[in-house]
Symmetry: C2
Subunit: 307 residues, 2 copies
């Protein structure tokens, strides 16, 4: 594993990723809870909150807070955008789980949104979260030049739409039942379904803090590589882990005849490729020095997470 | 019908609403076509364009262009937002037509999106249009202070989400099979399902041009009242017009046991209430003088449109 040169400075010893992620998660979950109070008509807010507050690592919002601080901003500046990223991510999960899409009954160990509220409400809950994400950024972001906030709106819109998540999901659906799709199609699916929103998360925090073009490019590369590694690891876990550990149905990819990295490369080569991606992600952070420590540790965490 | 005092000035004679709307529609449709070229993966862009370019009056974008000009801006300043309003409106139609929602096979005389592309693609096409709407405003709006653009993002997000369209649709779904729902529930449905996006359309153009708070309030009142009249007329037409004239299934409200204004008030009183709403809409425009002529004529057009 490649490491940056200055990782053995004294202050490193005090950095504990577990605590850092736990604190980030607590901060984000409190903000999400405040962002979406239940009012009339209660059913739609209940449905939106059911999935939004269903747990998860809150990795996307934490990445956003982290890069904002790293580039010289504050976590407060990035908190509305961090919440918006989780709203958008949740929307994509709710819609992906629908019977006409991936047809999943469980997510994070709980019944999926449509199993609890019905397909109609689940569709609307996703729509509501997506729309609210943009409203929340525009209304709640403080102490940031409006031009920078607009850049974030543009990036987030692009990450979710046909040039991002939605485009990746379409190709994913078209590839079902075709376990022998070419590597570049598989890469398209994942750079759009997974990496695009991770990139928006990493980049948006930095944009809010006024990062330079070079800094944004370095962070994009970092995000792309952790996104790739994240997806490879996800595919590996679908083969090797149990539903109980995953909190969702395991072995589903094979059952759906989905092409995955292990089906294309085998398990060992998949693990090696994930390691390479993480190494490159970390090397993309060199210009940030010690300030990038949380991002380095998050990258290492992704590769280590469960196997 | 209430009229503003200065409607008989010479220049009025030259204003022709039919031409004005036709020119607006041409401008908007060319911009929509340019805004969404077909690239890989083609299927999602085809699906988004199928509904986005399916015709319609383009009333929302035209209202946005109109108020921007009326308050001293240009149509160019408002064109990206105008397109975004139509994208959002189209998203709501695609999702509302789904089998798990209103289950409609025809819209504007054509097969609905999911009938052509499947439920999965239709859901994603809606998501893609919603996300792209915000991206399009943020990226394409020129010569407007970023703070004003952010106000538009906030208004549009609110108009679509649980505080707007989505909230109205939820209550609408909950009210199905209950033809005797109270008037305030019916009003909630329509102020959220119809009036919210009309209000965003009217107000956003003015916000881009830097309108004052008072001007925004007057325009909100105008929009609320034309939205109400629009819905009453829509309900009346569902009773009195044929599917051929409507371009969608007629008589559906009664079949679905939906409460409507005619079912609550009867036809004659519904027509009278629509007239009252239009009269108040027009009186809200008095401070704008002759510049409001297009808005006045649009209000009168709504009440006259088909019965």
């Amino acid at each position: 594993m490649v490491m940056t040169d200055d990782r053995n400075s004294p202050q490193d010893e005090q950095f504990d990723l577990h605590t850092y992620l736990a604190e980030g998660k607590t901060l984000v979950e409190a903000a999400l809870d405040r962002a979406l109070p239940v009012i009339y008509p209660e059913r739609i807010y209940d449905a939106m909150r059911y999935s939004l507050l269903a747990g998860g690592k809150r990795l996307r919002p934490i990445l956003c807070l982290t890069t904002c601080e790293m580039v010289g901003g504050t976590r407060e500046m990035a908190l509305p955008t961090a919440c918006a990223l989780e709203m958008v991510h949740t929307m994509s999960l709710i819609h992906d789980d629908l019977p006409s899409m991936d047809n999943d009954d469980y997510r994070r160990g709980k019944l999926t949104n449509h199993k609890v509220f019905g397909d109609d409400v689940a569709i609307l809950a996703g729509d509501g979260l997506l729309a609210y994400a943009f409203e929340h950024i525009a209304v709640e972001t403080q102490d940031v030049p409006p031009a920078n906030i607009l850049k974030v709106v543009a990036r987030l819109g692009r990450a979710v739409g046909a040039a991002g998540l939605v485009g990746g999901q379409i190709v994913d659906l078209e590839s079902e039942g075709k376990p022998d799709i070419p590597l570049d199609t598989l890469q398209f699916i994942h750079t759009h379904k997974t990496a695009a929103l991770l990139e928006a998360s990493v980049v948006s925090g930095a944009l809010l803090a006024g990062a330079s073009t070079t800094e944004i490019e370095d962070l994009s590369r970092y995000a792309y590589q952790i996104g790739l590694a994240f997806q490879i690891v996800d595919d590996i876990l679908d083969v090797t882990a149990s539903s109980e550990v995953l909190g969702k149905t395991a072995g589903k990819d094979a059952k759906m005849q989905k092409a995955t990295y292990p089906s294309l490369w085998g398990l060992e080569e998949s693990k090696r490729q994930a390691q390479l991606a993480i190494a490159d992600a970390i090397s993309a952070l060199q210009s940030f020095g010690e300030a990038a420590r949380p991002l380095v540790e998050i990258a290492e965490f992704i590769i280590r997470r469960q196997y």
